[in-house]
Symmetry: C2
C-alpha cells in the first residue's frame, strides 16, 4: 500500500524551455491518482523549502497548471544551492511536520545529488518516504538516461539559429567573414554538437564545431578557420563555453566560482573573435545566445516537451508504487521511427556524474561530429509546440505563488 | 506607355528575416504583369551586377521564388558597397547593353543612396529607366515611411526573447542577478525599444532600456540598476549597441570602420556587465543575439512579412505606371485595427537620412519608452508566419544562382 501523506515538487538549477512540463506532469498525475493528500510546491527549490516557502498547488487559478506545458522558466522558481548536512536534517524534520511522504526534485546533476542526500537523510531519520529525481538539463549530461528533458528543445533552438544565421553569413558580401556562436555546456558538448543538425547541404553552416571533450589548440583552430575560409570565403564556427586546453584547463575561464564550485565561463566566443582578427586580418562576429538557449519555448521540440511531461507523470506512478531513491530515465526503444520509454536508475549512481559525448562521435580532426551523433540527436528535435499568442507574443502563464501558503 | 525593356532586382546591406518577401513580391508581380520582358536578379547587389553577376530569375526551379516568402537571409545575395562615380557610369552602360529599363533596389539608408545615384546617372546618360527603392531594415530608420519592412520581425523576435529570458531570470535564485541584452541599431534605438513589448505585468522584464537617441551616463546607469535591484532583487537591461555619451561619441566603439565610414560597434553589453560587477559586487550575464535578430524567420511577424511582400509588388506597379526615383513607403491608416497602405517618397529625400525615435517617446529618466511607442510598435509584431518543417527544422529554400546566367 502506498504511503499515506502529502507530496512536494520543486525545481532546481538553470531552467529549460520544458522544465515546467515535468512539474505539470507530476501535479496532473498526482491529481489523477486521487490519493486524498495534497501536492505542494516548494518555491525556489530546496532553498525556499528550508525557509518554509511552500504552497498548495491545488489553489492555483484554473488553467495555470495546464499552462505550464507551454511556459518556459521555472514555474515554481528554482535555486542553485548546495545543501549542508544540517539542512538535510532540518528538511526531514519539515517533511515530518507537514506529513510529506513524497518528494519530487526536478533538476540536473547537482540537484540529483541533493535528492540523493535527502533520500539518505530521511532513511537515517527513520522517516519513510519516496524521493524521486525528475531529470532536466539542456546540457544533456545526466548518466544512465539516453538523453535529458530540456536538451531537445535547446538543441532545436540552437540548430534553428545556426541555420538562419548561417544563411545570413553566406548571403552577404561584407567584411564580416566569420560568425562565431558560443554555446552553453560546461563540461559536455552535447548542446554545441547539436548545431550540426543545421547543416543540410555539404557547405552549409556550421563548418567547425569545438567541444569540451577534446583538447582545444589555438594554432589548430586558426589553421581550421583558414582552410574553410580559403575554400568558401566565409566560416561559421560553433564553440562550447567550456573548451579546455591539452592540460584540461578551461581555455577562457573568467575566474568566478558558483555555489557548487564550478568555474563560471564566458567570453570564449569573443576571445576567438579577437584571435581570428589579430592573426588572420579578417573580421569576425560573435553571437552569444546565453539564457535564450534554455528558455526559447517559442522554438521548443514537441518530442522533448512530451517526454518532459511524461517523466513527471511517471515519477508519481513510480513513487506511489513504492519506489524511492531513483531518478526517472528515458530509454530509447527505436530510432526510426523514434520511440522511447521511461526507466529508472538509483540516485546514488547519478549524483554528480557527468555524461560526455563518446569520443567516437567526434571526428578525427576534433572539429566536428560524426553521423552517429546526428542519428542520435535528430529525433530529439522533432515536432513543434503550439503556443497561444496574444498581441504578437507567446501568452505564457505566471503562477500566483502567494496562493495556498502552507504553514510550517 | 510603359518602357519596353527588362527589369533587374537586387538586395543590399544586412538581410532581414523578411527581405526575400520583397524580392518575391517584385518577381511575382513582374510575372503577373506579363510585360514580355525578363526579370533579372543581380547577385550580391550592386557589387555583383558590376561584375556581370546577373541571372534570369525565370530559370529557377519550381517553388524556389515562392519559397522566398519564408526564407531568411538575402536570397540573391547582398553586399555592402559604396558605389563610385565611375561605377555609376559603368552600371548605366551595362543597363543599356542588357536593355534594362527597371531597377529595383532592396535595402536601407545606404542602399537608397546607391539607388538615388543610379537614378541620376541614368538621367545624365539619357537612358530612360525606372529606379525604385524597396525599403528594408531591422533598424527601422528610413525616413518618410511609418516603419520599415524587416523591423516588425526583428522586434517580435527580440521581444519574445526578452519575455523568455526575463522569465528565466526572475525564476532562478542564483548569483546572476542582472541580465543584459545587447540589441542591434547603430544610431536609432527602434529595435532596442521594441523589447518593451515583452512587458505584460508591471515588474516584468525589461526593467531598463538604453537608447542611442539620448546621452548615456555610466553613473546614472549604475544608479538605475541599483534602484531596480533593491526593489526586485534582479534586473533586466536592454541596451543598444550604439549608445553615446553626452558629447555624442559612441560609449564603447571598437574602432573599426565599415565601407560607408560607419563605426563598427560591439561589446557594449559585455562592458556594462563588467561595470556592474566591478561597482555593485553582483553578477551579471550578457546575451548578444547578433545576426539572429535579422534572420530569425522562425519567429517572424506575419504583418511584417506581408508588408515586405506588398512593397515589392507595389514597386513593380509603380515602375510600370511610369514612376522613378522613388522609394516605396508604408503609411499607417489606422491603429486599431491596424491598417496600412503603400505610398512613395523621392529617393533624394531618403538617401543617407536616419530617422530616430522621437524624444517624446522616451521617458524623462532616459531609461525606458513611453506608451506612445508601445502603441506604435505593437501592431507591427502581430501574427505568426507558418513555416514548412523537415526533420525538426525550418525547410528554407536555396536559389540556384548558377542557373540562367545573363551574358554581358
Amino acid at each position: 500500500m502506498a504511503l499515506q501523506g502529502n507530496a512536494i515538487v520543486a525545481q532546481s538549477g538553470g531552467p529549460t524551455a520544458v522544465i515546467n512540463n515535468s512539474v505539470c506532469g507530476v501535479v496532473e498525475e498526482w491529481f489523477r491518482q486521487n490519493t486524498g493528500f495534497a501536492i505542494y510546491g516548494g518555491i525556489s527549490g530546496i532553498k525556499g523549502i528550508l525557509q518554509g516557502e511552500i504552497i498548495d498547488l491545488s489553489k492555483q487559478p484554473q488553467g495555470m497548471i495546464a499552462g505550464l506545458r507551454y511556459t518556459p522558466g521555472a514555474g515554481i522558481y528554482s535555486c542553485r544551492h548546495k545543501v549542508t548536512q544540517d539542512e538535510q536534517i532540518q528538511l526531514v524534520e519539515l517533511f515530518k511536520k507537514l506529513n510529506i511522504r513524497y518528494f519530487f526534485y526536478n533538476g540536473g546533476n547537482d540537484s540529483m545529488d541533493t535528492a540523493h542526500k535527502t533520500y539518505l537523510a530521511a532513511k537515517d531519520a527513520g522517516w519513510e518516504m519516496s524521493v524521486i529525481g525528475v531529470p532536466k538539463t539542456v546540457d544533456n549530461d545526466l548518466p544512465f538516461t539516453d538523453h535529458c528533458p530540456g536538451y531537445g528543445s535547446a538543441a532545436k533552438y540552437l540548430a534553428t539559429t545556426v541555420r538562419e544565421t548561417g544563411i545570413d553569413l553566406e548571403s552577404v558580401s561584407t567584411k564580416n567573414k566569420v560568425t562565431i556562436l558560443e554555446a552553453m555546456g560546461r563540461n559536455a558538448g552535447w548542446l554545441t554538437a547539436a548545431s550540426a543538425l543545421a547543416k543540410r547541404r555539404p557547405d552549409e553552416a556550421p563548418h567547425l564545431i569545438y567541444l569540451p571533450e577534446v583538447a582545444f589548440s589555438k594554432e589548430q583552430f586558426l589553421a581550421d578557420v583558414e582552410a574553410v575560409y580559403k575554400r568558401l570565403g566565409y566560416v561559421y564556427v560553433v564553440v562550447s563555453e567550456g573548451i579546455v586546453d591539452k592540460n584540461g584547463s578551461y581555455c577562457f575561464a573568467g575566474g568566478e566560482i558558483d555555489a557548487f564550485g564550478h568555474a563560471q565561463l564566458s567570453g570564449v566566443g569573443e576571445a576567438l573573435k579577437t584571435l581570428i582578427e589579430q592573426n588572420m586580418g579578417i573580421k569576425a562576429r560573435c553571437n552569444t545566445l546565453g539564457t535564450a538557449q534554455r528558455s526559447a519555448m517559442h522554438c521548443a521540440s514537441l518530442c522533448d516537451a512530451n517526454e518532459a511531461y511524461q517523466v513527471g507523470k511517471v515519477a508519481v506512478t513510480y513513487a506511489l508504487s513504492g519506489k524511492t531513491g531513483v531518478m526517472v530515465t528515458i530509454d530509447r526503444v527505436a530510432n526510426d521511427p523514434y520511440q522511447s520509454k521511461t526507466g529508472e536508475v538509483p540516485l546514488e549512481k547519478v549524483a554528480n556524474v557527468e555524461k560526455k559525448i563518446p569520443l567516437e562521435w567526434i571526428n578525427a580532426e576534433h572539429n566536428y561530429v560524426t553521423d552517429d551523433f546526428i542519428q542520435y540527436a535528430r529525433p530529439l528535435i522533432m515536432g513543434e509546440v503550439t503556443l497561444p499568442y496574444v498581441d504578437g507574443l507567446p501568452d505564457y502563464v505566471h503562477l500566483d505563488l502567494s496562493l495556498g501558503k502552507v504553514r510550517k
